[in-house]
Each structure stands twice: as structure tokens, then as C-alpha cells.
């Protein structure tokens, strides 16, 4: 079982220092990703899901961010946080590839697709340009780009948004990464194109046997793609479980509220459930549970101490005092 | 009850702006400096016995002493008195001409940016024409026609300086105009004038403050240039500009610094403080800037 663990993140804490104060963007997040699995990280904007992925790649310094001591990110047992920038450069793109949200800006507009792909492949796989070129064409064909030999000579602006995202996926996967981090890969795309891209990602995942961390705000997308789901809110992990556990039996009041507040295609409700209030301002330190102020179940105890991420009998985890008893029972067994 | 509350809160907006401005130390210091300076050039002649015109026989080019605080110039006039009286002229010329430029340039830029099309074409070509003329020559001609006086100098500098305001306003307006809140105003039925003055202009002001402070400074310097050519403020009247130009002779520049250093220093200090006040105002009026 242990051997299957590809990435292990434990007690990850990332802060940003701004003029107004310190923002704890990621506050004590732990999770593991197994080979060939898809972990969905869901949450609303500002919940820290993107910062988590940037922290894994150590891309956080240039935004004035800081990963606090005590955090650990292990890729196949190898600690990443202690690596030098040069060593990280070999990890990024080679072992962990990333796909960003905006297909318009993640390609360099002044170079052809060929140049961008070949350079990446040559750098990471240490093969000749000719071999790299044929790998590139092969990958373009795999991601469903028609006439790859011809399209590879084109510039990014000559491609549509969906095609660009395919190219980005091709670049990301062409170096056989062990882990692919996809940060809102379909948010900028139309639904019909989104369907194409999700379909493609699913097919390719089986083919290359890479694990995927899928970061999204769209519960529909994780429902389709993920094996495990981590629900984040205001920098903290509120719930973790398999897809079935999260969707059939959501535990945390936030997850419950979130699922109930989405308009559904498969049924019609008169009125949507809505979580009152707004996301808390992270500049002000939160005492106790971060969701307390919007929570229908909040009690006095919720304000006094921060709830731990409790392990429940079915191996899911939830950070809510409501489940304290249940968790204790499972610990006794 | 409501009314009182409302007024209180509205006052607090202005109080907020003032507070924000006061927190801007450099701007506050500049404001203080400028106030003191303006008060000085207005009040000192009333309080002290200052005489900028009399040529004191036998006291040509004297270094500062107890009788002449800043010495005398090459025809024996008291430099300190001339500095004070010159300040009246220079500061007035600076502000009035910059204001005139702004009053002409900003609305024209606004019109060109908002309406586009033919109006834009006409106004912006006019700007090009004005900018491609050698300003100094036109100034010379105009001042000659109008006669050399402080008023005509202000008029001429003001009339020729609007292009900067127009171009800056135009470039800012064409970007602000595309903002959704302007379309929202239009969708709410706002007239063109209201869209321009309540939605577009307030959001285009920031760079114009800076432009205004540059304009004041440049007007003061242009007046000096005109004075030097004998077309500025007529000769016996002092202005900082014509005092500085006395440094054209090498001997004055090197051996008699008291004739030009005070005027130069105060000119630079004035221009700088106007710039800082512009910066401070820009920040204070921006609701997004925190206290």
C-alpha cells in the first residue's frame, strides 16, 4: 500500500506577506496522492486550492509567499521543500507537470508550437531535436489535434481556446510526468469544449499512468473526474473522502451546503439552498472553526478551538466537532 | 435623525480624504511650505519695508549683509525684496496659466475620447498642430501683439499649454469609457454629460493632477524664458525667472551666487512641492487607498 503513494503532503502551511498583514493562504493541509489516481481539490476562490498546488512546485516565492517550517511535500518519499531551485527545475515539467487555467496566456505567443514543445522535451528527456520533434507530433495526435504535422508549425494565436488547451496538455504529458497538476483546466472553456477536454484527460490518464491533482470550483467536474476529493475553505481542509463518500454522504456542513446550493440539471427545485454570509477575511486570524460564522450547526465550542481533521470509521476525514463522537468510537476499535 | 446621521457620514468622507492627505507626510510638508510661501509673498511687503525697484547708488552687486539680507543685484536693487515681489508674479503666472490650460484641455480631451469619430479627429488634429508649432516663436509673436504684461504672459502660456492636458485626458478617457460601469450608467439612462462628468472624468483624474503640477512648474519656467527675451513681465518688475536669468553672465554665475541661488532654490522647492501635493491629492481622492 505504502508503495503506491506518489505524493505525500503533510502539514503544508503557506503564508503571504502583504501590506495589510499576513494571509495564511494554506493552513495545515495534508493529503496523499496515489499512483494513477485523481485527487480533486475543490473550493471557492480564495480558499487556497491554487496556492496548495503552487506550493508543491515551490512556485510561491515570487509572489511573496512563504512555506512555513514543518511543512513537508514528498514525491516518492523524496522531500521537495528542501531542494534547491536548480533541482526543482528538474522536477517541474519532468516529474510534476502543470496545466494552468488560462490557455491564452500559458503559451508564449511569439514562438511556434513546435519550438515550445521541442525545447521542453529536449530539456527534460535529454534526447535529440529530431526525436523530440517526432515525440511532439505524436503527442499532438494523441491529444486529438488534426493534422499535427501541419499544426505544429503554427503560432498559439492561430489555435482556438480548446486547441490551445490540448497543446498545453500535450506539452505537459510529453515528458511522462508522474504527477499532473491541473489548475482549473476547463474553467475558461465552453461546456462542449470542456466535455472534450475532460474526456481527453481521462483517456490519457489511463494511458500514461500518471496521477492527477485536479483543482476546480466546479463540483460537476470533480464528480466526473476524481477518485478522492479534498474540500478546502479559507485555507483549511474541511473534508476528505472518496468521491462517493463526498457526494452521497457529505459530512461537513460546508460540503452539504455547497452541494445543495448548486442548481441541478437532473431535478428542479423551487428555491436553492444558500449558505448565508461571505467567505471570512483571512487577514483577521480566525479563532476556532473557519466556517463557524456561516454554519447552521455552530455551537459555542466551535469558537474556542480549531477542529482537527478527524478520521471517521469509513476512512474519510472531516474537520467538524459534530463528528467528534463518531471519530472517537472509530479510534477505540 | 436620519438627516443628521447622513450628514455626519458624508462629512466623514471628506474628513477621510483630508485625513488620508494628512497622512501623506511629504505632501503635507509641501502644502505647509507652499502656504507659508504664498502668505509670505502676500504679507511680507505689507509688514516690512521692501523696495524691489530703487537702485541703491553705490551698492551694486553687494554680497549679503545686515542691510541687504540677500545682497543687491548688478544695478543695486535689494535681492530679497525682488525675491518676494518676484514670487507674487511667478506663482500667479504658474497657477493661472496651468489652470487655463487645464480648463481648455480637459474638456476637449474628454469630448474627443467620449464621442470619437469626427470630433476626435478634429480635436486631436488640432492638438497635433499646436504641438508641432514651435511654442516659443508663437509666444513671442502673441506677446508682441498683446503687449508684454503679466496678464498677456499668463494668457499666452495658458493658451498654448492645453495640448498636454487634452492628450492625457483623451488617452485616459478612451480606456475608462470601456469600463462596464460607464455602460451601466448608460443603461440606467444617464445622459452623455452625466456619463462624462460623473463616471468618466472622476476616474481619469489621477494622471491629470500630476500633469497640473508639471504645468505649473513649466509655466513658471516659460515666463522666465519670455522675461529673458524681454517679452515676459516688463523689465523693472521682478519675477523669479528674470532673476535666474541674471546668472547668464559667467561672472555672476561664479562670483555672485546671491543674485540667482535664492531664486533658483525657491523655484525648485516650489515646483517640487506642487508635484508632491499633486501626488498626495491623487492618493487621498482614491477610495481604494487605505488610511
Amino acid at each position: 500500500m505504502e508503495d503506491n503513494v506518489l505524493l505525500q503532503v503533510s502539514h503544508l502551511r503557506t503564508q503571504f506577506e502583504t501590506k495589510e498583514g499576513i494571509i495564511p493562504a494554506v493552513d495545515d493541509i495534508s493529503f496523499t496522492v496515489e499512483r494513477g489516481q485523481v485527487l480533486g481539490i475543490v473550493g471557492e476562490s480564495g480558499c487556497g486550492k491554487s496556492v496548495t498546488s503552487m506550493s508543491i512546485l515551490k512556485l510561491i516565492e515570487k509572489y511573496n509567499g512563504r512555506i512555513l517550517a514543518g511543512s513537508s511535500v514528498k514525491l516518492e518519499g523524496r522531500e521537495l521543500l528542501g531542494l534547491s531551485e536548480a533541482e526543482m527545475c528538474n522536477i517541474r515539467g519532468r516529474e510534476i507537470a502543470m496545466i494552468f487555467q488560462d490557455p491564452m496566456t500559458s503559451l508564449n505567443p511569439v514562438f511556434t508550437i513546435e519550438r515550445q514543445m521541442v525545447e521542453t522535451i529536449v530539456r527534460h528527456k535529454k534526447i535529440g531535436r529530431k526525436a523530440a520533434h517526432s515525440t511532439a507530433v505524436e503527442w499532438l495526435a494523441k491529444v486529438g489535434i488534426p493534422e499535427p504535422e501541419k499544426r505544429i508549425k503554427e503560432y498559439p494565436h492561430q489555435l482556438s481556446g480548446g486547441m490551445r488547451q490540448r497543446v498545453i496538455i500535450a506539452i505537459a504529458l510529453s515528458c511522462d510526468p508522474k504527477l499532473l497538476i491541473a489548475d482549473e483546466p476547463t474553467t475558461a472553456l465552453d461546456v462542449t469544449i470542456q466535455a472534450q477536454i475532460l474526456d481527453l484527460l481521462r483517456k490519457l490518464k489511463d494511458e500514461v499512468n500518471a496521477a492527477i491533482i485536479l483543482i476546480t470550483h466546479d463540483m460537476g467536474v470533480v464528480a466526473e473526474m476524481a477518485d478522492h476529493i479534498l474540500v478546502m475553505y479559507a485555507g483549511r481542509a474541511l473534508e476528505y473522502g472518496t468521491k462517493q463518500q463526498i457526494f452521497r454522504n457529505p459530512r461537513h456542513p460546508y460540503t452539504k451546503g455547497l452541494l445543495a446550493s448548486i442548481p441541478r440539471m437532473d431535478r428542479q427545485e423551487e428555491r436553492l439552498f444558500s449558505i448565508e454570509g461571505n467567505v471570512p477575511n483571512l487577514l483577521k486570524p480566525v479563532e476556532g472553526c473557519v466556517f463557524r460564522e456561516r454554519c447552521g450547526y455552530a455551537r459555542e465550542a466551535c469558537g474556542s478551538c480549531r477542529p482537527e481533521l478527524l478520521s471517521l470509521p469509513d476512512e474519510s476525514r472531516v474537520s467538524c466537532l459534530l463528528y467528534e463522537k463518531e471519530a472517537k468510537e472509530s479510534a477505540h476499535e | 435623525m436620519d438627516k443628521i446621521k447622513k450628514e455626519n457620514v458624508q462629512n466623514s468622507f471628506w474628513r477621510n480624504t483630508v485625513q488620508k492627505f494628512m497622512k501623506h507626510r511629504v505632501a503635507m510638508f509641501s502644502l505647509l511650505f507652499l502656504t507659508v510661501e504664498i502668505l509670505a509673498v502676500i504679507l511680507l511687503p505689507l509688514l516690512m519695508d521692501l523696495d524691489p525697484y530703487t537702485t541703491n547708488a553705490g551698492c551694486f552687486s553687494m554680497a549679503p549683509d545686515e542691510r541687504f539680507l540677500l545682497g543687491t543685484d548688478d544695478v543695486g536693487r535689494d535681492v530679497f525684496s525682488r525675491l518676494v515681489y518676484g514670487g507674487r508674479v511667478s506663482i500667479m503666472v504658474g497657477f493661472v496659466s496651468a489652470l487655463l490650460s487645464a480648463v481648455i484641455g480637459i474638456p476637449l480631451g474628454l469630448l474627443a475620447g467620449y464621442y470619437g469619430g469626427v470630433i476626435r479627429m478634429v480635436i486631436m488634429r488640432l492638438v497635433d498642430i499646436f504641438m508641432s508649432f514651435p511654442a516659443m516663436i508663437i509666444q513671442l509673436v502673441l506677446v508682441t501683439v498683446l503687449g508684454a504684461s503679466a496678464a498677456s504672459v499668463m494668457l499666452v502660456i495658458g493658451l498654448l499649454g492645453w495640448t498636454g492636458f487634452a492628450r492625457l485626458t483623451y488617452s485616459k478617457v478612451i480606456s475608462v469609457k470601456e469600463q462596464e460601469y460607464v455602460e451601466a450608467a448608460r443603461a440606467s439612462g444617464a445622459t452623455n454629460l452625466r456619463q462624462m462628468f460623473q463616471y468618466i472624468l472622476p476616474n481619469s483624474l489621477a494622471p491629470l493632477f500630476v500633469q497640473f503640477s508639471f504645468s505649473v512648474a513649466s509655466a513658471i519656467l516659460q515666463e522666465s524664458g519670455l522675461s529673458f527675451l524681454g517679452l515676459g513681465v516688463p523689465v523693472p518688475t521682478a519675477s523669479w525667472g528674470n532673476m535666474i536669468y541674471s546668472a547668464q553672465s559667467l561672472s555672476t554665475l561664479v562670483y555672485r551666487p546671491w543674485m540667482w541661488v535664492p531664486a533658483g532654490t525657491i523655484l525648485v522647492a516650489t515646483v517640487l512641492s506642487i508635484n508632491f501635493i499633486g501626488d498626495g491629492l491623487r492618493d487621498a481622492l482614491d477610495p481604494k487607498m487605505k488610511l
Binding site: A195, A223, I275 | E183, K288
Partner: protein
């Protein structure tokens, strides 16, 4: 729907933009529909299909190339500017991005009061009171009235924008992707607010969105747009239960459902959206359509209605 209870009728509206090299972009091409009093007509389509342009053309915010919009017996696209301006009291708009649709230099009170100021409604005190009441109604506290937009979250700002749109008691509000920029948990709040407003004030919405699940939740009838044309228009249930147009079918099947128990057959559309500069001849969808036959390439399909008011522009509908 019969025309007698129509609040606003859009007739053969076209909007062409001049593109580069003399090309024309047919953003909206011959679109007709009607909106009844107090109903919500959802308008869905993917980016670039012309839905936002259509919304703006209906309100005469962009000049239509051709066609008419009948409101209170008059074609508002042909009204002189001053009369059109007065009508805006009754025809308002809510924008997509709550961060950019509020003037950053106006307090919330000023922003919401603006329509009253513009039309000179009531005395100064009355305007103040109405603004305060409406802000309270959309869920803002009184002490927040003198704050500036940047001090609010996206959801709060969108409430302010909605308050501004309804303060002059309009009959019709075009909502251009009003919840797309909002987070899921806040989205529900705003959708509920919009429904409450409709129930209490009887305002009709043209609700533009790319998100079919949101449109389905809020709309009474739905129109689907593809490349500048409406390809299907029908009551909500019919559209979701028996989508007539192949594009609608693909669109519906493409939406991920946040549930693990539902397994659906997915229709994956081939290829990308053709350029609106050079739309395909015949039926515009034929390049991606699984049912396309020769006729679709040659002849443009007309919108046909069945007796329930379900309209589809497809040659092969009901085959």
C-alpha cells in the same frame, strides 16, 4: 406564447460588426422572440455565440443593423435618443462583472440612487429613503451605504448592482451572466434574491448565461443560441426533457452533474466553434452535427413550432 401578453417583442434583429479586411461578423443574425410580463427567458449559448450582443441590442445599447424591438407598442430601436433615455427607467440591465460595473468613485448609496437622480424621481429625501430601503431589501446594512464598491465582496457588489437595476421599478431587466463571476455558495444567494424580486415586483428577465444548470433553475422558457442564431426556444421542461436540436442535446449532455450515481451517455461534439466571420452555409451547426445530411449543407433551416410552443430550427426535427 401569444403576442397579447408579450411585454417586449424582438423582431428579426440583426447586428453585424465590421471585421478586418471588409469581413462582417454576424454577431446576431435574424433573431426573433418575445418576453411575457413577469417571466424569465433564459438565453444560453457558448462564448462568441452573440448572446451578450443580443442582450445589449435589445436594450438599444448597441445599434442594431436591422430589426425592431417592440415595447409598449413602439419600436424602441427607432426612438430618438431622448425618448429612449426616458424609457431606460423601465428597461434595465445587470452586468456580468460586479467588480467593474460599479463606479469606484461613487459610494454605494450614490450608485444605487443614480437612476433616481437621472430621472429626477422624488425629492432628495425620498430618493435617499428609497435607496436605503432597496439596499436593505437586497441585504445590505445601513452603515454600509457610504462605503465604496471595493470594500465589498463580489456577491455583495452584485446585490448592489441588482438594487440599482430595480430601484426605478423596471418591467424588464437584461441580466448578462449575473452569477458567472460569483462563487458557488454566493451564487445561490443572488439567484434566490433575483427570484424573490421577480415574485414581488413582477419584473421580467432576459437571463443570459453560458451555464445551463443556472438557466434551467431560474428560467420559465429557454432560448439556445448558436453562432448568432436562436436554434431552439421552448418552455423549460420541454427543453430539458425533449431537446429538439442536436446542438441543445450535445450542450445538455456536456454538463457535468455533481452526482456520482447518475451515468449518462455523453455526446461529444467534434471540432470547434466555426468563426462567426465566416459561418458555414446552410445550417450553421452542420459542421459539428451528427445528423447532418445534404439538405443541412444547402438550406438554412427555419424555426418551426409545435403546438406547445416548442420551436426548433432544424430540418430533421421530429424525424
Amino acid at each position: 406564447m401569444n403576442d397579447s401578453n408579450a411585454l417586449l417583442t424582438v423582431q428579426n434583429v440583426k447586428k453585424y460588426f465590421k471585421g478586418t479586411k471588409g469581413c462582417q461578423v454576424k454577431a446576431v443574425d435574424d433573431v426573433s422572440f418575445a418576453v411575457a410580463k413577469g417571466e424569465t427567458l433564459g438565453l444560453v449559448g457558448e462564448s462568441g455565440c452573440g448572446k451578450s450582443t443580443l442582450g445589449r441590442t435589445v436594450l438599444n445599447l448597441v445599434n442594431a443593423t436591422e430589426g425592431g424591438v417592440i415595447y409598449e407598442g413602439r419600436d424602441i430601436l427607432k426612438l430618438p435618443q431622448t425618448e429612449m433615455r426616458m424609457l431606460r427607467k423601465k428597461l434595465q440591465m445587470v452586468f456580468q462583472n460586479p467588480y467593474s460595473s460599479l463606479n469606484p468613485r461613487m459610494t454605494v448609496l450614490e450608485a444605487v440612487r443614480a437612476p433616481l437622480d437621472i430621472f429626477g424621481i422624488g425629492t432628495k429625501e425620498e430618493r435617499f429613503e428609497r435607496s436605503r430601503d432597496i439596499l436593505k431589501y437586497v441585504g445590505l446594512d445601513e452603515y454600509q451605504m457610504y462605503r465604496y464598491p471595493h470594500e465589498f465582496s463580489g456577491g455583495q457588489r452584485q446585490r448592489i448592482v441588482i438594487a440599482r437595476a430595480i430601484i426605478s421599478e423596471p418591467d424588464f431587466v437584461v441580466c448578462d451572466e449575473p452569477v458567472s463571476a460569483l462563487d458557488v455558495s454566493v451564487r445561490a444567494q443572488v439567484l434566490n434574491l433575483m427570484q424573490d424580486i421577480q415574485k414581488e415586483r413582477g419584473v421580467a428577465y432576459l437571463f443570459i448565461s453560458h451555464d445551463l444548470s443556472v438557466v434551467k433553475h431560474i428560467s420559465d422558457r429557454i432560448a439556445v443560441m448558436y453562432l448568432g442564431k436562436i436554434v431552439e426556444i421552448s418552455p423549460r421542461e420541454t427543453l430539458y426533457d425533449q431537446p429538439g436540436h442536436p446542438y441543445t442535446q450535445a450542450l445538455l449532455s456536456a454538463i457535468p452533474i455533481p452526482d456520482t450515481d447518475i451515468v449518462r451517455e455523453r455526446i461529444i461534439l467534434k471540432g470547434d466553434l466555426p468563426s462567426p466571420m465566416n459561418p458555414p452555409a446552410g445550417c450553421r451547426f452542420h459542421t459539428r452535427c451528427r445528423f447532418a445530411v445534404e439538405e443541412c449543407r444547402m438550406k438554412e433551416p427555419k424555426m418551426r413550432f409545435d403546438e406547445s410552443g416548442h420551436g426548433v430550427a432544424c430540418h430533421r426535427w421530429k424525424e
